[in-house]
Amino acid sequence: QKVLKVSAIPDESPTELQRKFTPLGEYLEKEIGMKVEFTPVTDYAAVVESLATGKIDMAWLGGFTFVQAKIRTASRVIPIIQRAEDEHFTSKFIVPQASTAKSLEDLKGKTFVFGSPSSTSGHLMPRFYLMQAGINADDDFKTIAFSGAHDATVAFVASGRAEAGVLNASVWDKLVETANPNAAKVKVISTTPPYFDYNWTVRGDLDPALVKKITTAFLKLDSKNPADKGLMDLQRASKFITTKASNYDSIERAAKSAGLVK
C-alpha cells in the first residue's frame, strides 16, 4: 500500500474541509512516510460506506457516524484519536436576534433546522436533549429541515428561512471568532450538556504498524510548538488524545432511544 486514503464527514463545506485538512495531510505524509490523499465527500453516509468497503482507510467521523460505522461493519472499525475538546462536546440552540424565544420550550410550533441527519452535534444529541426537555422533534415543530452542515444552519436561521436551529459549539465559536456576518444575526438560547463527539477512525484491517505510526504522529503534535500550532488551530484542537470505542456507547444509547438506529 502506497497511499493512505483519508476522508471526513462533510459537517462543513467541502472547501472548508479541504482547507483544514491540507496542512494535516502534509504533516502526516512526512511522519508516516507515505502519500496521503484527501477525498472530500458531501454525503455523511458515503463516508461510512467507503470506510466499510475499504475505499478509504481513515476518516474523521462524528460520534454518531462512528456508531453507524461500527454497526455497519460489526465493530471492525477502530477509533484511534480524538481532540481533547471532543471529550466534552456541546451543541448550541440558536434563534434570530429579533426572536422572543427564551427557552427550548418556546420553540414548539416553530420551524426548526438541524444540520445533517447523520450529524451527532447537529441532529442526534440535540434531538436527544430536546426529548429530555419534553419536545418531540417530529411532532412539536411546525416543520423541520436539514441544512446539511453546521455553518449552513446558521445561514438558515440568519436569513429567516427557519425560526430556530442547532449546531455544534466548535463551529459556533469559530464563526463568532471570525466575525461571520450570519453569526451576528442570531443568538444562542440554550446549550446541551457535554457528550463525546468527533474522532479519527481507521478501518479494522489496516496494518497495525501503520495505525501505530499514525497514532504517534497525532500524539506528537504540540500546540506550544509554533510549527504545529497553525495546524492544530485549523483543527480547533488544543491537544490530541487516544480514544476507544466504549467512549461512544452513550451516544449509541442516545441514538437508540431517539430511534435513529435500530
Binding site: A45, G54, T111, S116, T143, V261
Partner: protein, 264 residues
C-alpha cells in the same frame, strides 16, 4: 415546372454525425470515463451487497402511515405546481408563435429561458424565504421552473403543428386567439397533455429532491432514512415513489388514449 433536379449526397448528415460523435467522445475523455472501473470485482461485489440491503422493505404499519402522509404531500405539491405552471405556460406559449410581434416574442422567450435556467433547488430556497419553510414553497418553486420548461415545450410543439388547419380559420376572419383554440389546440392537445403529465411525473421526483432541502414529502423521509443508513426504510420510500410514477404513467396513457370527449 422549374425545379433543381439534383440528387445530393447528404454530406451534411455525415458531417453532423461526426461532430456529434466527436463531441461525445471529448466528453467521455474529459471526465476520464473508464468502463473497466465500472466492472471491477470490488465494485460489483459492493454493488451486490449494497443492493441486497434494500431487499427487505420496512412495511411496519407506523412507517407506512408516515409514507402515506409523505406521498400525499408529494402528490399535492407536484400536482399543484405543475397545474399552475401549465396554465401560465399555455398563455405564454401563445405569445411565442411566429406571428406575434418580435418584441413580445423576445421578452417571453427570455422570461421562459430565465425561469427554466434557474434550477428548482434554487427557486426553492428563494421561495422558502418568500413564504416560509413548507410545502407551499415547494409548489411555487416547481411552478416557476416548470412554467419555463412547459412554455418552451409548448411553443415548439405549436411550431410543429400543421399551420394549414389554423390558417383555414384565420382566412375566414377568425381572430388569432380563437384560431389557436379551435385549430391548433386540438392538434397538439395530446402532445400538451403528455408533456404536462410527463412533467408532473418529473415534478414528483423533483418534489422528492426538494424534500432534501426541507419542502417535506417523501423526499425528506428518503433523505433522512438514507442518511441514517436505514436501507430497508429507504427502499419502502423508493417503492412508494415507483408506485406514484406508475400511477401517473397509467393515468397518462389512459388520458391519451381516451377519446377525450373534448372539442379536442
Amino acid at each position: 415546372m422549374n425545379r433543381s433536379p439534383q440528387p445530393q449526397f447528404c454530406f451534411k448528415c455525415v458531417a453532423i454525425f461526426l461532430v456529434i460523435i466527436l463531441f461525445f467522445g471529448l466528453s467521455f475523455w474529459w471526465i476520464e470515463f473508464n468502463l473497466r472501473t465500472l466492472f471491477t470485482e470490488s465494485a460489483v461485489s459492493s454493488a451486490v451487497t449494497f443492493i441486497q440491503r434494500f431487499f427487505t422493505p420496512d412495511l411496519s404499519y407506523k412507517f407506512i402511515l408516515k409514507i402515506y402522509d409523505g406521498a400525499i404531500q408529494t402528490i399535492a405539491v407536484s400536482l399543484l405546481g405543475t397545474l399552475l405552471a401549465a396554465i401560465i405556460a399555455f398563455f405564454l406559449a401563445l405569445g411565442v408563435k411566429p406571428a406575434s410581434p418580435l418584441f413580445i416574442r423576445g421578452v417571453i422567450r427570455f422570461l421562459l429561458n430565465f425561469l427554466r435556467s434557474v434550477p428548482e433547488l434554487v427557486w426553492a430556497s428563494l421561495m422558502v424565504l418568500a413564504v416560509g419553510l413548507g410545502p407551499f414553497a415547494g409548489v411555487l418553486a416547481i411552478a416557476l421552473h416548470t412554467t419555463g420548461v412547459l412554455g418552451r415545450l409548448f411553443a415548439e410543439t405549436l411550431e410543429n403543428a400543421s399551420p394549414e388547419v389554423t390558417n383555414a380559420l384565420l382566412r375566414n376572419g377568425t381572430s388569432s386567439f380563437l384560431a389557436y383554440l379551435f385549430g391548433t389546440l386540438p392538434q397538439v392537445s395530446s402532445q400538451f397533455i403528455s408533456y404536462i403529465l410527463y412533467r408532473w411525473e418529473m415534478n414528483i421526483r423533483m418534489a422528492t429532491i426538494l424534500g432534501f432541502v426541507g419542502a417535506g414529502g417523501l423526499g425528506q423521509i428518503l433523505y433522512y432514512e438514507l442518511s441514517l443508513l436505514h436501507e430497508s426504510r429507504a427502499s419502502t420510500v423508493i417503492i412508494a415513489m415507483l408506485i406514484l410514477v406508475v400511477a401517473v404513467d397509467l393515468l397518462s396513457s389512459r388520458l391519451r388514449k381516451s377519446n377525450m370527449p373534448a372539442n379536442c
